[in-house]
């Protein structure tokens, strides 16, 4: 398709008149109708098998589908893209024509994604991310869609570093040039690959719950669209009859078991669908590539120049089973709800040791890239690998690294500086105090005769639960600064350990509530353009918080410190 340049058909009025403008794959025309058909399939099946109360088909739906198809044809016919030595252009629009362009040296990620229809047709969506400001849509450029071969060639060409010297104006990058870039691509090194056994962690995350919600939602949609009376369907009818003969307790138990089984089944299915064929590959030292997916596939490329750190996240259940996820802290890929859907995931739920190993391998790759061999030498020196076996005293001290690169593993698994007795007391006061208020209200309501005894006295169980929560929350608190990396750990329901490069810190926020002031504590947040935008060490003693910030960014904080 790349050689199929139809430059002659383009208007001459703008730079677009130059050769090199290319069409998207004509196969992308088929995507929309096929997707609509597949989406309508459940409704069609429902109509065929269960009949309908009201026979009239939804004409609005048909009209909408027709409009969508017409739109996709217009979109295809009016969209062109062009890759020159300096920029990538995308032009689209029928009435008001728009030309988007991105400088090639600003392109930080090239992601290929495909849902089932794309895969059947051999197509890939291409997203070019600049990482400039991930909150604005203007920062990225989408090509929907190219053939797989073209998409991969484009990615290889765009991410080949350093960017090729700008060719003479008007010289179209022919397909030969792109192929050459693929052939001379840097060496790939696999950092992680999905092990089938990891599926056991699937039921321990909330992904299953989300999938159950989606499935139930779409089931209701189908029922609604087909006007089928589900209680009239044989199995459902028998089920409701059987259930109605049981006692309340039995009914509740049966429903709970069924929901649990469904959750496990769907979360395993979801894990397989999202993460099948998961691979994390370092391409040379400049790039990380994550590819995954069973039916819908997604390939994310992360430029290590944009990497500011890594995060281990352990949701409570997953933590109990010794599992963890690993996320990249990088500018341009925003961490949102459900990191599996975003681009920042480096490892799906997996054994904790594997997650830590992957995170440290990623950090090491980033350091290798960011400053070359010089940084490695400095890093090894400051980590301190003097005589092997020398133990450094002190809880916060860095243990001697046995192997080269042990520094990163130490950041991810080593001991942290604890926040001390005041922070512990604060956790208990907040958790047990809150539980105490609720319990007191429960008991008072029972005494006043508003609620039955089991509810009133049962609320007392909140007190030990609060204490457990407080202990766990305090157990999570910790921080550390070593070799230019700020490590913070926090949270109980989801415990997160973040390792953030101090070079990625673009400001500080110190927060002190009235109670914290009385206890001499403060919460210190390092703000950054990457990942969650801020990483906080909660309830640090004030002096320790200020010293931490000063050591992390001396130039920024020192002028505001008092010498006393």
């Amino acid at each position: 398709m790349i050689s199929e340049a139809r430059a002659g058909a383009l208007p001459e009025a703008e730079p677009a008149g130059e050769p090199g403008w290319q069409w998207l794959s004509p196969r992308s025309l088929v995507v929309r109708p096929v997707t609509d058909l597949l989406r309508a399939l459940p409704v069609v099946i429902g109509l065929l098998f269960f009949g309908s109360r009201h026979g009239a088909p939804n004409l609005w739906g048909l009209a909408f589908a027709g409009f969508a198809i017409a739109t996709s044809i217009v979109r295809y016919c009016t969209t062109r893209y062009r890759v020159t030595g300096e920029r990538v252009y995308l032009r689209h629009g029928l009435l008001s024509q728009k030309v988007l362009s991105v400088p090639r040296d600003r392109i930080r990620s090239v992601d290929l994604s495909a849902h089932v229809v794309y895969r059947i047709l051999g197509l890939r969506k291409v997203h070019l991310g600049t990482g400039r400001n991930d909150r604005r849509d203007g920062g990225s450029l989408h090509l929907d869609a190219l053939t797989l071969a073209d998409a991969e060639a484009l990615r290889a060409a765009l991410l080949a570093s350093p960017p090729p010297a700008p060719p003479a104006l008007g010289e179209a990058p022919a397909s030969g040039g792109l192929d050459a870039a693929v052939a001379s691509g840097p060496a790939e090194r696999e950092l992680a690959r999905l092990a089938p056994g990891w599926v056991r962690y699937a039921p321990l995350t909330l992904t299953g719950l989300v999938i159950v919600g989606v499935v139930i939602g779409s089931a209701f949609q189908v029922i609604d669209a087909t006007h089928v009376n589900i209680t009239a369907i044989g199995p459902v009818h028998r089920l409701t009859v059987t259930l109605s003969h049981l006692t309340l307790l039995q009914r509740a138990l049966e429903v709970a078991l069924a929901v649990l089984a469904l959750l496990v089944l769907l979360s395993v299915a979801g894990y397989v669908a999202l993460f099948w064929n998961f691979r994390l590959v370092a391409v040379g030292t400049g790039m990380l590539r994550v590819s995954r997916g069973l039916l819908s596939t997604r390939t994310t490329t992360i430029d290590t120049r944009r990497l500011r750190g890594a995060e281990l996240s352990e949701p409570l259940l997953l933590r109990g089973a010794g599992g963890a996820r690993c996320l990249a802290i990088t500018t341009g890929l925003r961490v949102g709800h459900g990191a599996e859907r975003g681009g920042s995931l480096l490892l799906p739920p997996a054994p904790r040791g594997v997650a830590a190993a992957v995170a440290s391998a990623v950090l090491e790759t980033a350091v290798l890239e960011s400053a070359g061999a010089e940084a490695v030498a400095v890093g090894a020196e400051s980590v301190g690998v003097p005589a092997p076996g020398t133990e450094l005293a002190g809880a916060g001290a860095v243990a001697p690294a046995a192997a080269a690169g042990g520094w990163a593993a130490e950041l991810l698994t080593g001991d942290l500086v604890r926040h001390g007795p005041s922070a512990r007391r604060r956790r208990y006061v907040r958790a047990v105090g809150g539980a105490g208020v609720l319990a007191a209200a429960g008991v008072a309501a029972w005494a006043a005769g508003a609620v039955p005894a089991w509810a009133g006295l049962g609320s007392l169980i909140l007190l030990p639960l609060g204490a457990v929560l407080a202990a766990d929350r305090y157990g999570s608190l910790g921080h550390r600064l070593a070799d230019g990396w700020l490590v913070t750990r926090t949270g109980s329901l989801i415990r997160r350990r973040s390792v953030l490069s101090t070079e990625g810190i673009i400001g500080w926020r110190i927060h002190q509530s009235w109670f914290q002031r009385r206890q001499g504590l403060a919460s210190l947040a390092a703000t950054t353009a990457a990942g969650r935008q801020h990483y906080t060490a909660h309830d640090v003693p004030v002096a320790a918080a200020l010293d931490l910030a000063t050591s992390a960014t001396p130039d920024l904080i020192s002028p505001f410190r008092t010498t006393a």
Binding site: I506, G507, W508, R509, I510, S513, A529, Q533, V542, R561
Partner: protein
Amino acid sequence: MTPENAAVPMLPGLRDPSRRVSRRAVAYWTVRAALDGLILLAAEGAVAAGTGLGAGWVIALALTLLVVVGYVLIMPRWRYRVHRWEVTADAVYTRTGWLSVTWRIAPISRIQTIDSHRWFGERLFGLANVTATTASAAGPVHIRGLDTATADRLLDELTAATGALPGDAT
């Protein structure tokens, strides 16, 4: 700059930002707090009148009035003592809040945009605020309650300072 500055800073080890906001901010905050309190009282009074204005409601209304009056009298003055700011050659440094206090430090080199909003209410009092955003969604630094002339001068200074620096500030 102020006599209190020489004393122990609010956060031991970190000196207070040198400049206070405009004295008129106290009046502005007082009016806003009073308006918020009136809305709360009006809503509560409407519900109370709708349900027959029992003795319980009268007590609740009286308590609310007490809290609102206390808030209107105390909060603006307390806030004025806390709110401070300072712009050096390298950084913007602010302190905001009253019961809870937040210190923010953002390097000038990482500032992406500078803007100034003048809401209708602020303009009535001759006040303005200046916001410096960084590439971090968590990092905007607000300086509220400046008098208009200071805000204009600050806006020019910061714009000149940030415009001179290269890079994309991430």
